[in-house]
Symmetry: C2
Subunit: 385 residues, 2 copies
């Protein structure tokens, strides 16, 4: 159901010919209102793709009526021509839909440093507009895939409240915090203003997408949009709505990790006993980005020494001789030294759970990552992205 | 010639039985004086192995008569017993050599979190002492190898000055700045005090070992020692001596990169046009640590978009639309966008040269790294280190 689970939205996904292999590559999501409120968060990479620069401006203008998304090209590092192309994309969608161009957000994903084939993209917008449907969410989710092996959607509904939050995501490589590298469009039929959407979205991404770190690499195109149509007429309590947005983001984030390029393990790095949440996040990221540890996990080796050497690179509050580490429930490191027998650690399953206890306070945070595999190397040495 | 190229030093390398495969695993380097000045730099990892904690103390006491080095175990994260073992190692060497224990530095390398087999290590010190020789430098270099495929030595002599700087290094994985993960012992017969050695050593490591970043992982055991015997009687000019130390460190650093685990490419990341040297180093490290770029280089794909997306994660001064990137002499990115034809980039050879021009000033720095390969994954998922 994806982005059309909530009332007031239509979507489409088509093959416009941007991808040479003929796979779907263009999605359109339209908010039919009555409200057209929106919020967004974007990559913190200082090298931002043209569609990111455009969509940031569009959001400032206050309302988003439609989102055009393409795979097959990131339109990043493409200079003034790249920005003109994004602008032309928004103009075309606005014309077809009878709205203003500044109400159209644009998202692109694919190879950096290549101009988009506008002769295919612009006619594709007309084709997609003609296929817009209240059941088009799945097709839209399919059209934004790059190296994703599956499309990702999620829906949470409040039966008592009569409102829904749904969404779609793409992303398989270049997954790193602030944000995980991806495009995400969330929709709701709740009747909320942009400020409330912004508050709920930032609260959600901070503890979900921002804590997904597949390979430490941050993209130029990350975009997460939340659009509200108000079509349900329901005005939810903020806390309930924020929790629904968080749940959808969490589910989509887990789907991104579960489909990360070449990965054979999903690794949950849970940092506890930290002096502050910032410390916990810093330690979690350092552990999640340690290539040697990621290789060890791939080899089903509970190599806790690599966890400690990663923790040691951080500025977090801790004493080396008070650190504890558990892998899949076995405390293999106690007080910075040898703990329970590492032979007891069972690592046969896809999910691996590492707990790093800093013994310095009560704060905690969880970062999700993947193992490092020969398949990751193969996929990213053979594929330009 | 290694650590015995300079006069006043003897060394030995033996198989003490620490490694189960019977390979050499214990080295001894002795300074016969007349001077016993020394300087050292150690890992900036906050989780420090017992021998690092011990050797830092020994250096503070002012003179180093001998260094005991073992492979086959890092003696890191081994608690109070691990520190006692390092202490006992120094005591044993001091006893055999007729010196004080606080004059004995200790270096260990190998698996983290496992106690050393002291019943083999202590008798090994006696065996090694009996084999000390002015020609023992190569054997010592061989005995400190872990996953190194070759041993690493280097020598620079001043013919006019009549003095020499020589050294040995080990290190193949866990190579990252501050320092590259490794053990290095340098010796000189120049007649210099500890303060001068310290100044020259820090100046050298800052621009050599500190700028080697094979896999972004920082070890718990990094140690670089510089010992002076004064046996040549020569007192070199500081600048000439410092340059010799820098040259030996640079050579050994390049040998480390050339032998990095699983690597098929040595990548020189040269950052130019930076506002400050710190900016240049930060950008160089960000590029050198980007797994996606490292995979692309492995695939001989001049994927400059991944260079830009790495630069964008830094705090360095730059404007995205003024960035330029050359790969092997071809400016594939100009003004943040598409530059010369990427088809012109020839990447068939082991060395790859990336120039990132920030167009923001005159400062520059070079970081050396490797590509990311399936062999790296294999070696580090099958081997506990």
């Amino acid at each position: 159901m994806s982005v059309t689970a909530a009332k007031g939205f239509r979507a489409a996904g088509i093959a416009a010919g941007i991808k040479e292999n003929g796979n779907p590559d263009l999605a359109l999501v339209v908010n039919d209102g009555p409200r057209r409120a929106a919020a967004g968060v974007f990559t913190s990479n200082r090298v931002k793709a043209a569609p990111v620069l455009w969509s940031e401006q569009a959001l400032k203008a206050g309302q988003i009526s439609a989102v055009v998304l393409n795979s097959g090209g990131a339109n990043a590092c493409t200079g003034p021509k790249g920005f003109q192309d994004t602008h032309a994309t928004a103009e075309k969608a606005a014309e077809v839909l009878g709205r203003g161009p500044i109400e159209v957000a644009v998202c692109s994903t694919g190879l950096i440093g290549v101009l988009l084939p506008m002769d295919k993209l612009l006619p594709g917008i007309e084709t997609a507009a003609a296929q817009l449907s209240e059941h088009g969410g799945e097709k839209a989710a399919l059209a934004i895939k790059t190296t994703d092996t599956v499309h990702k959607t999620s829906v949470v509904s409040s039966e008592s409240g009569g409102w829904t939050v749904g969404g779609m995501a793409k992303g398989a490589g270049m997954l790193a915090p602030g944000l995980a590298t991806m495009l995400v469009v969330l929709t709701t039929d709740a009747d909320l203003d942009g400020e409330t959407l912004d508050r709920a979205l930032r609260a959600a991404t901070r503890v979900t997408f921002d804590r997904v770190d597949s390979d430490g690499c941050m993209s130029t195109n990350d975009t997460v949009l939340l659009l509200a149509s108000g079509a349900s007429g329901a005005v939810p309590e903020y806390e309930e709505f924020a929790e629904a947005v968080r749940a959808v983001c969490d589910d989509l984030g887990r789907q991104l990790i579960g489909d990360a390029e070449g990965a054979s393990k999903d690794i949950k790095v849970e940092v506890v006993g930290a002096a502050t949440e910032d410390d916990a996040v810093e330690v979690g990221r350092a552990v999640a980005r340690n290539n040697l540890l990621k290789c060890a996990i791939h080899g089903e080796d509970p190599n806790w020494g690599r966890v400690l050497s990663a923790i040691g690179t951080t500025r977090a509050v801790f004493e080396p001789d008070r650190l504890n580490v558990a892998i899949n429930g076995v405390w293999v490191c106690k007080n910075g030294s040898v703990g329970e027998d590492r032979e007891r650690v069972d690592m046969r399953y896809r999910e691996v759970h590492i707990v790093a206890d800093l013994a310095a306070g009560d704060a905690e945070a969880t970062i999700w990552t993947n193992d490092l595999t020969a398949d990751y190397v193969h996929e990213n040495s053979a594929y330009s992205s």
